[in-house]
Subunit: 347 residues, 2 copies
C-alpha cells in the first residue's frame, strides 16, 4: 500500500510500504477514508522532534474495518470507525479511569514499527478499546466525515483544554492559539457554557472561524499588547479560564499573564519551550492553576459524538484544504507556511 | 512598644518602635499574645528575599483587641482574635470569592509601613474582614492557643496544599517537605479523608509528628531514591495527590516525579527555584496538574476552627520551641539551623 513516510526535516514522501495485517487477536485493519495533518506533526516536519528516516506519520484517521482478529467483538468488517490519536487497551488502571493516554499498553500511530494515519490502511491494536463505531450513513456525507475526523484529536484536545481551564457557565475563557486545537477550544468552551470567549489571533480567516465557533471577542494584538487588551476586556482582571494551545515560551507567558487570579490554564500545546514561559512566582502569588497535557480523546469521543452527529457542534470548518494521499507533502508545506489552517487527506 | 526588626541577613533585633494606633475607621489594634516564626521568614533572614533595614517581620499572630476604629463592628475591645497572614477588605471581587490573598486592598504584615506579628501589638487594617474572633476561654489554654495560632498560616496553608493536590477519600497523598506546613499538609490530607499518606522526611522528630498527624508511611530517602521508594509503595504508579511544601528546584522535581499520571501537585512552598524543577514535558505526557499558591487562609479559618476547638485536629505539635519576644533572634537561629521545627513567641 501507499503511506506517508518522513525521511528528514521537510522531506515527506508517499511511498510503497507493506500492507498491514492482523498480528494479534485484538487487532483490526482499518482502510483509511480520511486522515489529516496535525499542527503537532509540524514539529517532526521541521526537525524539532526527532524521527527515524522512513518512519510513518499521521495520528488522526477514520475509515472502514477491513479485517479483525479472533478476539475482536466490538467492531466488525465494513464498520465505519474513528480512531483516537493513541491506541489503548481499555482494561488497565488508567484506561478504566479514563486516562487512556497513560495506558500501560498504549502507543502512538506512526511510532517506530506502527502504521501512521496518513496512509491507505492502519493496523489497530486493541481494536475493541481503541476504535469507536460511527453510523454507516456518515460515510457518504463529506461535511459530517470532516467533523467526525476531528474527534480523533483536535476536537477532543480542545475539549481537554477547556475542561482543564475550567470553562463553564459564568466564566470568561481566553484562548491562546488560533490553530485547529485553539479553535476547537473555543467550540468546546462554548459547548461547556462559557459566557464570554476571547480568541487571540491575527489571521482574519481563523478568527472568523473562532467567531463562528462562539468567540465573543477577538484580540489581534500580540505579547504585552495582547495582555493589555484582554485585561481591558475583563475589568483589569484577566480570564478565569485560559486555553494554551501552542506550546511555546511566548504563548505560555501570554497565558499566565491573561489568567485571572484564582483561575486556571488548560494546556494542550505540546511543550516546545513553554516551560520557560511558566513564571511560577506569578502563578504562586495569583493562585493560577495549570491542568492539561496530552488529551485522552478516546474517553471524550462517546460524549462528543452525539453532539457532532446532531449538529450541536460542527468542528469541520477547521479544515480549509483537502489533498489526496499523494498530495500529503504539499499539505505539510501549506500548513508549515500557514497558507492552510488544517489539511484533510481524502483517500 | 518592642517589636522585631530585620536589618541585614542574619541580623534580627528586638527594638523600640512606635506604638500602633488606629489610623483608619476600619482599623483595630491587637495586643499580641502569641506569634511565631515561619519557614518563609527564613528567606528574609538568609537574605534570599530583600528587606529594607529596620523593616518589621512576622505574619502569624493572635491576641486581644485593644482598640477599634469607629466603623469596626465585628470585633471589640477585649476579644481574643486570630489574624491570617494577610489582611483583606472582605468586599472586593476576590474576597467575596474567597481568594482573600488577591484582595484589591490587601497586604502583608511586616511589609514596609506596616506592623509585624513578632512584636507587642499590631495595627490591623479592615479588622472586621481580617480578624476572626475566638472563644475567650482559649486564652488560658496554652495548648489550644498554640493550635489556634496555626490557623494564621501553616494549618490553612497545609489545607490549601491538600485541596490543591486533590486529597480526598480513596487517594494516596505524598507530602514533600517536613516543615510545619508539610506536617500540616499531612494533617489536612487526613482530615480530608485520604486513605494513605506518605510523608517524605529524614528527621525522626518530624516524621514522628507526621505519623501522629496521619502519615501511614515515611520515606527517608532523598532524590531518586525517594522517588523509587514512593513508586514502590504505590505499585509503580506514584501518588494521586502530592503536596509540595518547600519551594526549591529539588523538591519540585521530586514532587513531579512521584505524582501519578492524572494526579495533581498542590504547591505552597514559596518558589525559590522550584520553577526550574517543573518539567512541563513530563507533566504534559502524564497529565499532572499544578494547583496552589499563597493560601487564602482567612477563608479557611471558619471551616478549620471548629475542628481545632473540638480537638478533631490538633496542629499544636508543630511548635517545638517557645521563646519570649526578646528571644526572637535566637528563635531564628534555631530554625535556620533546623534545631527547631517551628518557634512560638509567647509575649
Amino acid at each position: 500500500m501507499r503511506a506517508t513516510t518522513i525521511h528528514a526535516p521537510f522531506d515527506m514522501r508517499v511511498a510503497d510500504v507493506p500492507d498491514p495485517v492482523v498480528r494479534n487477536p485484538g487487532d483490526a485493519v482499518v482502510r483509511v477514508l480520511r486522515s489529516c495533518i496535525c499542527g503537532s506533526d509540524l514539529w517532526a516536519y521541521r526537525g524539532e522532534s526527532a524521527r527515524r528516516a522512513g518512519q510513518r506519520i499521521g495520528h488522526e484517521f477514520l475509515g472502514i474495518v477491513e479485517e479483525t482478529g479472533a478476539e475482536v467483538t466490538g467492531v466488525g468488517r465494513g464498520d465505519l470507525v474513528v480512531a483516537p490519536f493513541m491506541w489503548s487497551d481499555g482494561v488497565c488502571d488508567y484506561c478504566r479511569e479514563g486516562l487512556t493516554t497513560s495506558c500501560e499498553h498504549g502507543g502512538f500511530w506512526g511510532s517506530v514499527g506502527s502504521d501512521g494515519g496518513q496512509g491507505e490502511a492502519v493496523r489497530v491494536p486493541f481494536a475493541d478499546a481503541t476504535l469507536v463505531a460511527l453510523p454507516a450513513e456518515a460515510a457518504s456525507d463529506d461535511r459530517l466525515l470532516a467533523a467526525l475526523l476531528t474527534l480523533s484529536d483536535v476536537m477532543g484536545t480542545g475539549h481537554h483544554a477547556a475542561l482543564g481551564a475550567g470553562a463553564r457557565a459564568g466564566v470568561t475563557v481566553a484562548v491562546v492559539g488560533d490553530g485547529a486545537v485553539g479553535l476547537c477550544g473555543v467550540l468546546a468552551a462554548k459547548r461547556l457554557g462559557a459566557d464570554r470567549i476571547i480568541a487571540l489571533g491575527r489571521h482574519e480567516a481563523r478568527t472568523d472561524i473562532a467567531r463562528r465557533f462562539g468567540a465573543t471577542d477577538v484580540v489581534a494584538e500580540r505579547g504585552d499588547a495582547a495582555v493589555d487588551a484582554v485585561r481591558e476586556l475583563t475589568r483589569g482582571q484577566g480570564a478565569h479560564a485560559v486555553v494554551e494551545a501552542v506550546g511555546t515560551e511566548q504563548s505560555m507567558r501570554t497565558a499566565v499573564s491573561i489568567t485571572r487570579d484564582g483561575g486556571a490554564i488548560g494546556f494542550v500545546g505540546v511543550p516546545h519551550g513553554s516551560g520557560t514561559g511558566l513564571d511560577l512566582s506569578v502563578m504562586f502569588d495569583r493562585n493560577i492553576a495549570l491542568r492539561g497535557g496530552v488529551a485522552p480523546v478516546r474517553t471524550y469521543i462517546p460524549e462528543l459524538l452525539p453532539d457532532v452527529l446532531d449538529g450541536t457542534i460542527d468542528p469541520s470548518p477547521v479544515f480549509d484544504l483537502t489533498v489526496g494521499l499523494e498530495g500529503v507533502p504539499d499539505g505539510y508545506k501549506a500548513m508549515d507556511e500557514r497558507t492552510a489552517l488544517k489539511v484533510m487527506v481524502a483517500n
